[in-house]
């Protein structure tokens, strides 16, 4: 058992080979992920291009119309950025949850209740503009966090899987918006479930004069950076990474899984609730029914395309926002149905997930 000899030499040789492989891999890690994502986008565009061809249109013209529609003018750019805002804010939270292997798909409901809370403050609290907006957004974030914490409690106390409780609470959250609008918060005689228009004081300030671009994009950048720092530079982020990589190791280290799960769900819920508040105060200036439809799904998609890296949620979310902004222009100018954009989104996600699946064993946490 204790004889040194040829086996040790062999071990040394194997170790040297492994060393080289590891070095190469480490250098390529970041670049690799980025290139993979680009390749997935390219592939999705190519496949959709074939679909456009089958529909009898020129894909090059269609894509050009789409690009112009997304970034052609300052207005269009503003529209696209505004559209990305909720996806990225909620997506950063989802990415953090997924890191800890907490499958939170409840962004939609959290955005909805965040919107209700922000609208409530905007409608009923009398304050000067800045404090009012701040209070409304904080209320949105708190409501979203509470909604998310509710799901976490059901998960931790009753053992219901978080996929189930976050999903089901989505329906409740969205219906609570309808409930509010059909009740006291609704605009009398509007004929549509919506609240009265907020006072101008409650409208989010514009970032660029003459466009619709509101200050939400600043929150987005801050959230992506904060998410990155939280994950890689704090002990809380370290706990999330260990828990996600191996629950047994987390137990061995003495990390409390319930506290991590509750913590990360609260953070994600607050971000989603903030997104709801920003959407209501910055885009619609009122609470409207179904304002959050599809946001939760896109937040999950964006987090996955970013391979659950908070900072990478930024480009992924922008990509989704620009696609959707360009879709209408494409439909208007070339006659290609805008629903093809959902095909591009779906395909991109599938291709990215395939690429991640291939490289998953190489990922570092």
């Amino acid at each position: 058992m204790l004889s040194r000899g040829d086996s040790e030499t062999r071990t040394a040789t194997t170790a040297a080979t492994l060393d080289q492989m590891a070095q190469t891999l480490a250098r390529l890690d970041g670049l690799r992920t980025f290139l993979l994502a680009c390749a997935a986008v390219g592939l999705a565009l190519a496949v959709t291009g074939v679909l456009i061809l089958i529909a009898g249109k020129n894909p090059v013209i269609a894509y050009w119309a789409m690009i112009k529609g997304a970034v052609g003018t300052a207005d269009r750019l503003a529209f696209a950025l505004n559209k990305s805002t909720p996806y990225i804010l909620a997506g950063v939270g989802v990415a953090l949850c997924f890191r800890a292997k907490v499958i939170n798909i409840g962004a939609e409901g959290q955005i909805a209740v965040g919107g209700i809370a922000a609208a409530f403050v905007a409608l009923y609290v009398k304050l000067p503009s800045m404090p009012l907006i701040a209070l409304a957004l904080i209320a949105g974030a708190i409501a979203g966090a509470a909604w998310s914490a509710l799901a976490a409690f059901i998960r931790l106390k009753r053992g219901v899987h978080e996929v189930l409780c976050t999903l089901l609470l989505n329906f409740v959250g969205v219906l609570m918006v309808s409930e509010a609008l059909n009740g006291d918060m609704g605009e009398p005689g509007a004929g549509f479930p919506q609240s009265p228009l907020f006072e101008r004081a409650a409208w989010l300030p514009k970032l660029l004069h003459g466009t619709e671009l509101h200050i939400g994009i600043l929150f987005v950048i801050a959230a992506a950076i904060a998410g990155h720092v939280l994950l890689w530079r704090t002990t809380f982020g370290f706990r999330l990474r260990v828990l996600g990589a191996s629950p047994q190791a987390a137990n061995y280290v003495g990390i409390s899984a319930p506290r991590c799960i509750l913590g990360v769900m609260v953070v994600a819920g607050a971000l989603a609730g903030l997104a709801g508040g920003i959407e209501v105060l910055g885009v619609h200036y009122r609470l409207i029914e179904n304002f959050s439809t599809g946001f939760g799904f896109n937040a999950v998609a964006v987090a996955l395309i970013a391979s659950v890296n908070p900072i990478a949620v930024l480009p992924a979310g922008l990509f989704f926002g620009f696609l959707e902004a360009g879709a209408l222009a494409m439909q208007r100018e070339v006659g290609v149905p805008s629903s093809l954009v959902f095909v591009i989104q779906g395909l991109t996600m599938v291709f990215v997930l395939c690429a991640i699946g291939v490289g998953a064993r190489r990922q570092k946490v």
């Binding site: 086996s7 492994l18 060393d19 990474r241 190791a249």
Partner: protein, 503 residues
């Protein structure tokens, strides 16, 4: 009916089977004895076609069996009952038996199968109700469903892999009766076990494996437990390690009456008491699954004791959280590198600081300090000769030996008062094994107390200043290495506990 000749199987440089012969005649029960790693499971995997042998021939019912897969082995008439059952709890006995019983083509015929189950049940004394849900059955009954499955699939040779390890004494009696009925019906049985009593009672012949070779083959009649234990472990154990002799210091760890029942109220640990002195290695031998993992987890704080107490250097740590035990000077090397002691996807530096990441110098007020991780990693990698491309590559990219060095560096590097080492050389090559052992001895020299648990008797005898045996959740009275009788230890590992402390 079964003839295996000259079976050889190598895993890399490990020679798991070297020219094993095994013959089973119809209506005979053959006991297969051997320590962990003696080659029993490899031999059975070869027989079942799970792995291919490097050399040797298998003949079953006068037909050669080569290049087969498990499906072909079942079709040929082999049936394996594993230690871990494969039943669907929400299905009835009949439905479970029907899974994989594809002889009726597309159509299911539950009534016919239920009738067959009743008939077979009577014939072999299995006492099974076809309509009961598998989830409601006891462990012994579940095992009988597994036996039913292989009989109805037409198995003529049954292989039972340590079938008695989780059974209560009456259930064991029942199982032995069933095996006698199988023998009466002319079926062959291979009975894999560590328990000498049972093997002697039920088997017609006994084959003993050690280090991949047959070291004994004899009729059960007239064999004694001492003979078998000698064949199982008998080897030159005089080549003890050059270990300094020094008087151990003061006791640092006291364990008194430690007990644990799991969630199903099964007793995992029974009234375990021992003390551990500074500069001493207490080595605990035992076959896997006799409560070792419960003992180390309770000591390290990963599971809670349901009785008794643990005292570390004057401090009661029985209910102390993991992190505080660590700070109190208790280090722990768990058995499972892949999921517990390492996070393979995290960097070497993160893994080296894994158990202290939220304490100074690695963190301050909730913020990580990457510089501290890097300095610490560089120092430990140099001191413990960890070969890696850098401190920031994932631990997964390192060889098994270097991964274990990370764990050793982390746990021993902080100079603990007490180290719990649970099979720390598991799966390592000789060079890495030597490194681990050298590090343990260095810690002992420096006055650390070590609790060493291993299924390898070699290592236990080599390292232990005192030696104890764990069996069925109990611990024998530790005896000094010089007074340890190897045959007696072998017997105790197999269930004869002459030195068990009175409760």
């Amino acid at each position: 009916m079964l003839e295996m000749r000259g079976i050889c199987k190598n895993y890399g440089s490990v020679r798991a089977n070297r020219g094993i012969d095994l013959t089973v005649a119809p209506g005979r029960i053959v006991g297969l004895l051997g320590e962990n790693g003696s080659g029993k499971s490899t031999l059975m995997k070869v027989l079942f076609g799970i792995v291919a042998a490097d050399a040797g021939t298998i003949t079953f019912k006068d037909k050669p069996l080569t290049g087969h897969n498990p499906r072909a082995a079942i079709a040929a008439g082999l049936g394996m009952i594993h230690q871990h059952f494969t039943l669907v709890d929400a299905m009835t006995v009949t439905e479970n038996v029907m899974l994989g019983l594809d002889r009726d083509g597309l159509w299911l015929n539950p009534h016919k199968v239920a009738e067959e189950i009743r008939a077979t049940s009577r014939l072999y004394g299995l006492d099974l109700d076809p309509g009961s849900l598998a989830g409601n059955l006891s462990h012994g009954q579940r095992q009988r469903v597994e036996i039913m499955k292989v009989i109805l699939r037409g198995a003529e040779l049954l292989i039972l892999d340590e079938p008695t390890s989780n059974l209560s004494p009456p259930e064991i009696r029942g199982l032995l009766d069933i095996m006698r009925r199988l023998r009466e019906q002319g079926r062959g049985v291979i009975f894999i076990s560590h328990k000498l009593d049972e093997v002697l009672e039920i088997c017609d012949e006994i084959v003993v494996l050690r280090d991949g070779e047959v070291t004994g083959h004899r009729a059960a009649l007239g064999a004694t437990k001492a003979d078998l234990a000698q064949m199982m472990v008998g080897r030159d154990v005089t080549a003890a390690l050059a270990k300094s002799t020094h008087a151990p210091g003061t006791p640092v760890l006291h364990v008194v009456g430690l007990s644990r029942r799991d969630d199903n109220c099964v007793e995992r640990l029974r009234d375990i008491s021992f003390s551990l002195r500074a500069g001493e290695i207490l080595a605990i031998a035992g076959v896997d699954g006799n409560g070792q993992s419960d003992l180390v987890d309770v000591l390290a704080g990963l599971r809670t004791a349901t009785g008794g107490g643990i005292d570390l250097d004057g401090e009661d740590i029985t209910f102390m959280p993991v992190a505080d035990r660590l700070a109190a000077g208790l280090a722990y090397i768990p058995v499972d590198r892949a999921t517990t002691s390492l996070v393979p996807a995290m960097s070497v530096a993160d893994n080296l600081a894994l158990r202290e990441f939220d304490r100074t110098p690695f963190a301050r007020h909730g913020w990580l300090r990457p510089a501290a991780f890097a300095t610490h990693a560089a120092e430990r990698m140099r001191h413990f000769a960890i070969r890696a491309a850098g401190a920031d590559v994932p631990a997964r990219t390192l060889s098994g030996g270097n991964q274990q060095k990370i764990v050793i560096a982390r746990e021993i590097g902080r100079k603990p008062k007490v180290l719990i080492a649970f099979q720390p050389t598991w799966g390592l090559d000789p060079g890495a094994t030597r490194f681990v052992i050298d590090q343990l001895l260095a810690l002992r020299e420096a006055g650390g107390a070590i609790l060493y648990l291993s299924a390898s008797l070699d290592e236990v005898l080599m390292l232990g200043d005192r030696i104890a045996v764990m069996y069925g959740g109990q611990l024998s009275e530790p005896v000094p290495r010089a007074e340890a009788d190897i045959t007696e230890i072998g017997l105790m590992m197999a269930g004869a506990m002459p030195k068990t402390k009175a409760a």
